[in-house]
Amino acid sequence: MRALERYRLRLRRKRFLWRAFRKRRELSVAADRTGGLRPDAILLFATLRNERVRLPYFLRYYRQLGIDHFIFVDNGSSDGTGDYLAAQDDVSVWHTDKSYRRSRYGQDWLTWLMRKHADGRWALTVDLDEFFVYPFCDTRPIRALTDWLDGLGTRAFPAMVLDMYPRGRIDAQPYQEGKDPFETLQWFDAGNYTISVNATYGNLWIQGGPRARCMFADSPEQAPSLNKVPLVKWRRDYCYVNSTHMLLPRRLNLTYDRSGGETASGCLLHAKFLSVLGEKVSEELHRKQHFADSREYLRYAETLNEDHDLWCKWSEKYVNWRQLEILGLMSKGCWA
């Protein structure tokens, strides 16, 4: 990589950090419990809006993994999300009513909070519908993973988004608060992912899965990216570029092995296609706050309207992380 190109990326990173610094004024604290955090606390960061229904299970899942503290940005929720979060002991919440899109889809806010609270700590950045799965997650807490990564000197851990879907119509089985979403979303696509290398940032660009297969079959280049690097040993001068798909500095994106071996990786089980998607889609289409003029949401709307089934006879039923490992969607690397 040429020096000029490297310098350009450095400028971009500085610009993002500057943006985050300016956007800090848009955040007002609703509950700040970060004061007593241990230096090795593992933090979870998320931006959310009207996710009250999903929250109880989300918190339960990540508490069980061993997340020490949650840091949320509540972007103008009106369904009691803010109050619910503020009442939790291990949660800090900041509130804002400002534009999600103009905050780089929430990244500017999170970058600021991460800069302040995640420096030197492991930070997991996810959406409310993403559930982190890593090798041995059924027997080893997330700290076992971060300790192991510390031992390797690895600062970033990749996890591909795995879209989970139900059999039959998406709205056929209504989701109830607190329930495991994967009781209905049991299925996923095992082997239709396309990969190319993003030369600028060095990351792999992964597309595919049921969304590419059913919603973007005519325009695959627009299909959503599935590569993510959600777990990072943060430093105050790091920033995410585009959601959590890639990071700056660039070296953090080189999470894959290029000489034939396998490094360790996980998956983010994506619980998007729940019955609650319908309301979300109509709301988001109205707000137009999402990436690429909410192109994805337009497709979701079409899919929801047509009597559409993401399921096909080659859909795989989810069992556990070992199954994903065998299918080659994630890897243990040399962790045993």
Binding site: T139, P158, T194, I195
Partner: protein
Amino acid sequence: MSVGFVMLCHTALDRAAAVARHWASAGAPVVIHVDTCVPKAEVDAMRASCAAHPGISFSRRFRCEWGTFGLVRATQEAAARMLALHPEVQHVFLTSGSCLPLRPLGELQAYLDRQPQTDFIESVTTAEVGWTMGGLDAERFTLRFPFSWRRHRRLFDAYTRMQRKLGVKRRIPLGLIPHLGSQWWCLSRGTLSAVLNDPNRPIYDRYFRRVWIPDESYFQTLVRLHSTRIESRPLTLSKFDHEGRPHVFYDDHLQLLRRSDCFVARKIWPGADKLYHAFLDTQRPAAAGVEPSPAKIDRLFSKAAERRRLGRPGLYMQSRYPRAGHENGCTAGPYSVFHGFSTLFEHYDAWLSKTLGLRAHGHLFAPERAEFAGGDGVFNGALSDSAALRDYNPRSFLTNLLWNCRGERQCFLTGPADKLDVAAFMAGDANAQISVVTGTWAVPLSREQAEFSAVRRKAARFQRAETELLAVLGSPRVKASVRIWTLVDFVENPMEAIQSIFDEINPRAPHRLAEVPRMADLSGVSDFLQRLRNQGMMPTMVGDYSAIDAMLAAPKEHARPYLVR
């Protein structure tokens, strides 16, 4: 007779203290060394938690940075203290703060009592050891390493390079033969005190101060001077990954560790509550007299190291994306590509499926859609038949298909009308078997009723596509098994050609081909080709087409030369 433990600690002191108390209450003295980088408050807490056990004492503290002499100093000091304070101790067992006893102390004691003069220390010469990392084995002893490998990697590397270039060599003290081995040992009182009280010790210490990773070579080398009986294996179960870092044990290794029958294991993750609970339980049933057998654990970790180093051939995923030439197998399994066969034979894919007993695909790279076996819209792994999705990344499409169907040989057809962008990739893939009959497009075109100029344009397009394909398959970098015939060469003896392909697919097939695919009617092909030629297009891919008519005119048995005799 008794065994004493020397424990080197630097993190998770609460766990280390629990292990020390476990040994002390079983009657074994413990000397603990704590790295100076640990804050005083933590050390005080540890001392307090061990205060009730008179058998536990603390030795003078040193800075133990990885790969430096500090670790040896700490060991020397603690071991000397052990020998001085506990005259009943006959064996000194060196452990770390993340070690865990897997068997009750009595068993270890009995095991050592059976071999009282034996020193358990892995000690091998540099020439024989294959596991050192970074290419530094003999050079550890002949170069100087004043810089920290962890903190000043560049200085370390530069200084090493400079010494190599200048040809600087250290003299190894007289009488020493460098040996290497695991840092964790169990030495008899006699040997250990001889090493510590050696009159030449100042010379040796000065020498080892600049050796790289002296904790893996100091005692390992010096015991060779003093020991009467060396068992060159450690009693501590400790495995290293491909980069020389110790593997860590977690709760889910409980059964594996139990069955290993080793005395002490390293290294245990401090959060492994279940392991600490299970193995520090004094009521645990004993497995008396069993030899340690770490083979199962060895296998687990060597498999993990292999996965990390070589990966799974043919898999492209988020954490494995080999650059060209480093794939270790471009695809997941062998597959066969038949180019031009579908226009020469009727229902060739169905015949293939039946004859080979597998699911043969149609034209996977057809312009309209991927023709999966059985005509399905999706295939294994939810692979879509959409041409747009396929053409977006044809290479991923192919490698996905082969990965999804690993263990089952894939066969598919191609033709000049297909999208053959992926041909170059297949040509470079040793798993590919590519059989090409060029010019078979003449057979359907000869019967096409459309205007001749349109047919001619089509023929020219197909011929160009095949010329390009042949250029790709003729490259010197081809790794695939490639067979190429012209139409005329092929129809002269098609069964022999097909048999040769099948023999390669299944070399141990019990019998030769019995049933033959039906060949299309070739009459009119040579007229058609002559007409093309007359119109100004030179058909180069067909061969000497005048031979076709001669074949058709020949007596009956010659007219169907593809019948097996």
